[in-house]
């Protein structure tokens, strides 16, 4: 019989090495699939790494792809810390992108240094308010937010679809379902020459540091953690649980909304239906991989982004489909979850 015993204190080397060994384990597990596809795992991983970080172009692509993942990862990390199960990052992402398109395609024109913060704030509001709906339903009527946030994703996507086919369709788009471009004042400038890396990366990094400061050093962070760990005890100690969950929703939805702004005003320039290849959902994996730690979200987003970008280029060279990236990410998340459990508990036989 195997039992779990809580560890008194996990040694530092274990806390640090556990996620790394988990990821190595994930790669070893996934190599069986590559073998099955008839290719050499070593060669495949080498190509994957080269595609993710082997050249300046590869690196900048990884950074570009990591930008929205950092933001949606933070969104999931903060919400999950409060045990607010926000699966609606995708919907909030589009809410932010939609808001940026609505106010940023000519409706309002401001100087650049005002226009960009304005778009970010508006996008954050849109995302935050969208998450507020299921959160109020959860607080008032105990409606399960997993269901409502998930279903809101489809509502948002269909709503954007409708707008892009109708009221928001750009007349100059030659019939494609896409909105007008963000005006020049609102476009997030590139921060590395000859690459797609834009100001959104800086915004994401600042957001991660701010999120860490909030969670670690402020009353809000204390309340969010307390409510997440044990809502009954938090309520008994006089903390306002409902208000804390609403605040968490605004922060979380806001971060996902900013991701939408960053993609529409930074990477793409205009709103389309394929603006996000699932950044909202991938954010959940990013957050889990980072054990919900805001600073670790940066590393974890870079890792996921590297796998996605690297797998694209690997699959062009080898007979391994890009879906391997999804398998690697999923296996890594599972392995990291197991390794985190092992840092808090030790296994005992008998």
């Amino acid at each position: 019989m195997i039992r779990l015993e809580p560890r008194e204190n996990a040694p530092v080397w274990l806390t640090l090495s556990a996620p790394l060994s988990a990821i190595i384990a994930a790669f070893i597990i996934c190599s069986t699939l590559i073998l099955w596809a008839g290719e050499s795992p070593l060669q495949a991983y080498a190509l994957l790494f080269k595609g993710a970080a082997g050249s300046r172009f590869a690196l900048t692509e990884t950074l570009t792809r990591a930008t929205p993942l950092i933001l949606t990862g933070l969104a999931a990390a903060i919400a999950f810390k409060a045990k607010l199960w926000n699966i609606g990052g995708e919907g909030q992402f589009y809410a932010g992108a939609l808001m940026a398109t609505w106010v940023g395609t000519g409706a309002i024109t401001l100087p650049t240094y005002v226009m960009i913060p304005f778009l970010i704030v508006m996008g954050a509001l849109a995302g935050g308010l969208l998450l507020l709906i299921p959160t109020v339903l959860k607080n008032r009527l105990k409606v399960d937010e997993v269901v409502t946030t998930l279903l809101l994703n489809f509502i948002m996507l269909l709503f954007v679809n409708y707008l892009l086919e109708g009221p928001m369709k750009d007349p100059m788009s030659m019939g494609w379902p896409q909105a007008a471009s963000i005006i020049d004042e609102g476009v997030l400038p590139s921060i590395m020459a000859k690459s797609r890396v834009h100001l959104g990366l800086v915004v994401a990094l600042v957001a991660a540091v701010l999120a860490w400061v909030i969670m670690r050093f402020t009353v809000w962070g204390y309340e969010i953690r307390a409510v997440g760990y044990n809502a009954a005890a938090a309520a008994f100690a006089g903390l306002n649980v409902n208000r804390t969950i609403l605040l968490t929703a605004l922060l979380s939805g806001g971060l996902a909304g900013i991701a939408g702004v960053s993609e529409v005003a930074g990477t793409k320039g205009y709103l389309t239906l394929d603006l996000s290849p699932g950044f909202g959902y991938a954010g959940i994996a990013v957050a889990m991989l980072a054990a919900l730690h805001p600073l670790a979200v940066i590393l974890s987003a870079l890792f996921l982004s590297g796998i996605f970008v690297g797998a694209d280029s690997m699959s062009r060279a080898l007979n391994v489909p890009t879906y391997i990236s999804d398998v690697i990410v999923a296996t890594s998340v599972l392995a990291v979850l197991v390794s985190l459990m092992l840092t808090r508990y030790r296994l005992r036989w008998g």
């Binding site: 008194e8 050093f217 402020t218 009353v219 006089g238």
Partner: protein, 518 residues
């Protein structure tokens, strides 16, 4: 006659032979030695009391006996045969039955079904309920364990459920019965009934191990007592000649004083319930027309069998619920808003019943839990930012003042022992100098040393001027500490009683709803 039942005539010849032997049992968990070469002999037809504080190793020993753990060293012999280690079935087959503190009965099944559960072969088409019922009837007649075999468990009282648990063991031909803290959930009357049952069981040849930390019970029911402290047997003696003080000392390892409050005159009313009713909401029992006044310098003891409304009173005082009728007054003023923050602000200190899941947040550190009730107040936070220095200093002072044993203020609270968690809560609550103190089961499950500490602190608060409501299921505790005792039964309160002029028996009767001629 089933093989498990030894008729009274066998008693004489089997009297002094050990039928159960635990030989040199040792068990280590990491660096902790839970059992250190413990040997135990149980003779036929005796009640052996196993006395020890929480964490002394009693439960580990019983888990080894039942094969839930494998001992690192030593072995178990029942009726001369060695039991296979690590196999729960082995103990059952050898005729050892256990009645746990928390019953394992299904509420929606009948007594007969519950007793048969697990004894029937898995691959059988039909149940032989009639035969089982006859046998249960016979057993309950033989041993004086009256219970209706057709009754649903959900309709039975706690005492009756315990009888079902004992019957369940007898039905499986147990000849050795182990009871783990069996009186924790019983009223004094039910406890007396249980002791009578136990005596009649041993008279009929059963042997019993009785695990408890209540000295009076052990003195009145057992034949022999074994005291375990820190995994070692520290005393073993026949009950004749044993006395309370020396057993307590053996159990704790030092002298323990009974709590004594100094004589004080009570002052103004600080907290009052005036004709308060609360409608039932499914989780909490309803209250009807409660009137209660708590004055400065006094401890009111609230007695009652659990589930009669004392938790509703506690929830009211904690600010978790509001009265559906009547008023709650603090310092003479009607309270109109009800939430925990308001109650804390108004000077009500609250020690919750469930210290681990309501009192503290286990995943947060000691220093964080110490400020959970005053998070937004200076100096602990300023402009929304936590003041780490103030929090650290506060924590360092508090854990020293209240003797909270931890590896440091950064340790996660879940890793603390029950007694230390309670000290942490006391530190948090008493630091605010509350005018009213709610102590809800403050000593339940704590070891003797920690209990004495909790009592001392409650008495200190009383001396300082706090009005205290002490909710407890331990009548000894209530009688020792309270200035007045009220009994709650089905959501109604009795008149206040003077603990010096009533007996535990009277209070016990009132707890079961019978009025006592004063």
């Amino acid at each position: 006659m089933p093989p498990g039942i030894v008729v009274a005539g066998d008693l004489g010849k089997s009297k002094m032979t050990a039928i159960l032997k635990l030989v040199n049992i040792s068990k280590r968990f990491g660096s902790l030695i839970a059992n250190d070469a413990i040997s135990l002999d149980l003779n036929a037809g005796e009640i052996l009391a196993l006395l020890g504080e929480n964490g002394a190793g009693k439960t580990t020993l019983m888990n080894i006996l039942f094969g839930h753990y494998t001992a690192d060293e030593g072995h178990v012999e029942a009726f001369g045969k060695q039991l296979a280690p690590g196999q729960p079935d082995a103990a059952l087959e050898a005729g050892i039955g256990m009645v746990h503190q928390h019953f394992s009965l299904a509420d929606n099944l009948s007594v007969t079904d519950n007793i048969m559960l697990g004894t029937e072969p898995l691959w059988s088409w039909k149940q032989n309920t009639t035969a089982a019922r006859l046998r249960i009837n016979q057993l309950s007649k033989d041993f004086g364990l009256t219970v209706d075999p057709n009754a649903l468990i959900g309709t039975l009282s706690v005492g009756e459920r315990q009888r079902v648990e004992i019957l369940k063991a007898l039905y499986r031909d147990a000849r050795i019965l182990i009871l783990d803290e069996p009186t924790a959930v019983l009223t004094p009357q039910e406890s007396d009934d249980l002791f009578e049952t136990l005596r009649s069981l041993v008279n009929k040849g059963m042997s019993i191990i009785f695990i408890s930390h209540k000295l009076n019970e052990i003195l009145s029911v057992s034949d022999r007592v074994m005291v375990i402290r820190r995994g070692k047997v520290v005393a073993e003696q026949p009950i004749k000649g044993a006395d309370r003080a020396s057993l307590a000392e053996a159990m704790v390892g030092r002298t323990v004083h009974d709590p004594k409050g100094e004589v004080l005159t009570s002052g103004e009313t600080v907290f009052a319930l005036d004709d308060v009713s609360v409608a039932s909401d499914g989780n909490l029992a309803p209250l009807s027309n409660l009137t209660l006044a708590i004055k400065q310098h006094e401890i009111i003891g609230l007695a009652g069998v659990s589930g009669n409304g004392q938790q509703t009173v506690a929830a009211l005082m904690s600010g978790i619920i509001r009265p559906s009728a009547g008023s709650l007054r603090l310092f003479g003023k009607d309270q109109s808003t009800f939430n925990p923050a308001i109650m804390i602000e108004n000077g009500i200190g609250r020690i919750p019943e469930d210290r681990n899941s309501v009192g503290v947040i286990g995943e947060m550190t000691v220093r964080e839990n110490l400020i959970s009730e005053k998070l937004r107040r200076p100096p602990f936070s300023k402009a929304g930012f936590l003041n780490a220095k103030a929090i650290d200093e506060h924590a360092a002072t508090q854990i020293k003042a209240f003797d909270v044993r931890c590896q440091g203020t950064q340790e996660e609270t879940r890793l603390l022992s029950g007694g230390n968690v309670q000290k942490l809560i006391l530190a948090r609550v008493l630091d605010a100098n509350p005018a009213v103190l709610l102590a809800n089961q403050p000593s339940r499950g704590l070891d003797v040393g920690a209990v004495a500490y909790v009592h001392e602190k409650i008495l200190e608060a009383r001396t300082r001027g706090a009005g205290v409501l002490l909710i407890s299921e331990d009548l000894e505790e209530l009688m020792a500490l309270s200035d007045r005792i009220v009994v709650i039964y089905h959501g109604r309160l009795s008149q206040p009683l003077n603990p010096k002029s009533v007996t535990a028996r009277d209070i016990g009767l009132m707890m079961s709803g019978q009025s006592v001629a004063a």
